[in-house]
């Protein structure tokens, strides 16, 4: 049996009605093993204006490099209370924010480890389907050998790496168009 996947449609401007109940900006409110990090940023459109109606979702492994998903068969420990999913809805300044734990490395296409990263899914009015991208961590030696980052043209890789803003605080902006346009994936 073979079916075709349902056609994606835009989230539209009224996403808050349906999605606000499950905003998760602190992924480890009860704490979890690992290095605490805050990630802050803005979503900016092709006119340089903040996007105030985007849903930014992150998905990540715990600090051991294990996803809290039945699809992850690795013999690594789960962290109780750490689901690895976050959802932030941008404010009038286009800003989103997460407090989380830096993920550990997870296996890549050839069994080699990937550099620590977050998977980011973006929905907003004007997008008929989601954008998918990744955030990598600054000062991370493993970035140089990451199998996914290496598929990205070298001059654009920096758009996927967060910048240090302060102690434990990282900044990463989503630029939808133009100079420094964020790399988005065909997923």
């Amino acid at each position: 049996m073979s079916l075709r996947a349902s056609t994606s449609q835009t989230i539209g401007p009224y996403l808050r009605i349906g999605l606000e109940w499950m905003v998760i900006e602190d992924l480890a409110p009860q704490g979890a093993a690992g290095e605490r990090v805050s990630l802050e940023g803005k979503v900016i459109d092709g006119d340089g204006k903040p996007v105030n109606d985007a849903a930014v979702e992150i998905w990540q492994a715990n600090s051991h490099g294990k996803y809290a998903s039945p699809e992850d068969a690795q013999a690594k420990p789960l962290e109780p209370g750490f689901r690895g999913y976050g959802r932030s809805l941008t404010d009038d300044a286009g800003a989103f924010r997460f407090r989380t734990i830096k993920p550990g490395p997870v296996p890549g296409p050839d069994g080699k480890l990937q550099a620590p990263h977050l998977v980011v899914t973006l929905f907003m009015r004007g997008l008929l389907k989601q954008l998918v991208t990744r955030v990598y961590f600054p000062d991370e030696p493993a970035n140089a050998g990451d199998p996914v980052l290496s598929l990205v043209p070298a001059e654009r890789r920096a758009t996927l790496v967060a910048q240090k803003k302060g102690d434990g605080v990282l900044e990463w902006n989503v630029v939808l168009q133009g100079r420094n346009e964020t790399v988005f994936f065909d997923f």
């Binding site: 079916l3 056609t7 996403l15």
Partner: protein
């Protein structure tokens, strides 16, 4: 390390492009640089799990969230969530939101001159059961104007958000109603070339689910991406 079976790529013309100028908001938000093809690693084939700690059974009845009954026609919307291989997708989170019977959203940016209904928020959620089934009780949403082009009106619709077993099977879409004369004018509904794909966004009237003297029934099945049958080595 065993290789991972990737998810199927979309069938030709069944998913929208980012840039679709008839939908004016896409022009300054669609990416302009080429997309980078993402291999499906463990990060892409996993997804968060939700359960009854997240969703209460009452969350699926949008007509009983306030003191009084909402205005409008009660409807049951139900269906199944399958993957492209025809397998039911159990235990996944569905979130819906919609306008009220007058075509007004309970949202600060909706300035349409139609009444807010104090007894209708327009949000619901549920989990699919072991056979991938879901069911909502709600009211039929109204059509409403928008400013995409001259005299533009959205057909009646309900927004659906779904989490599948993989982050790449995450889906947000809209459900439309059969026989709506606005469909052919709507740039959302017409955003894909494949007519069959478009028509799968329209629910069907379901007499079996219709509740005598209470509510009309509609059926809306959703299909999430499915995995390719055989793991392929070194896929890029």
């Amino acid at each position: 390390m065993k290789s991972i079976a990737p998810y199927r790529r979309p069938y030709w013309n069944t998913q929208p492009d980012y840039l679709f100028p008839k939908y004016a908001s896409s022009v300054r938000r669609a990416p302009t640089q080429p997309l980078v093809v993402l291999p499906h690693t463990l990060s892409e084939v996993t997804a968060p799990v939700f359960g009854y700690d997240d969703v209460k059974p009452a969350d699926s009845d949008l007509t009983r969230q306030h003191k009084g009954e909402p205005q409008g026609e009660r409807i049951v919307v139900h269906g199944r969530v399958l993957d492209e291989n025809g397998k039911p997708v159990p235990g996944i989170l569905l979130e819906i939101w919609q306008a009220n019977a007058a075509g007004r959203y309970n949202h600060r940016v909706d300035q349409h001159d139609a009444p807010i209904d104090p007894n209708f928020t327009g949000a619901g959620r549920t989990l699919t059961d072991a056979e991938g089934r879901y069911r909502f009780m709600t009211i039929r949403p109204g059509e409403y104007p928008w400013r995409n082009h001259y005299n533009a009106w959205r057909p009646a619709h309900i927004h659906f958000s779904l989490f599948g077993p993989a982050i790449v099977s995450r889906l947000i879409t809209q459900m439309y109603f059969p026989g709506d004369p606005l469909l052919e004018y709507d740039p959302m509904f017409t955003c894909v070339a494949d007519e069959k794909a478009r028509n799968r966004l329209i629910c069907s009237f379901d007499w079996e689910t219709t509740m005598p003297e209470y509510a009309l029934g509609y059926r809306f099945d959703l299909v999430l991406r499915g995995r390719e049958a055989t793991p392929m080595e070194n896929r890029r």
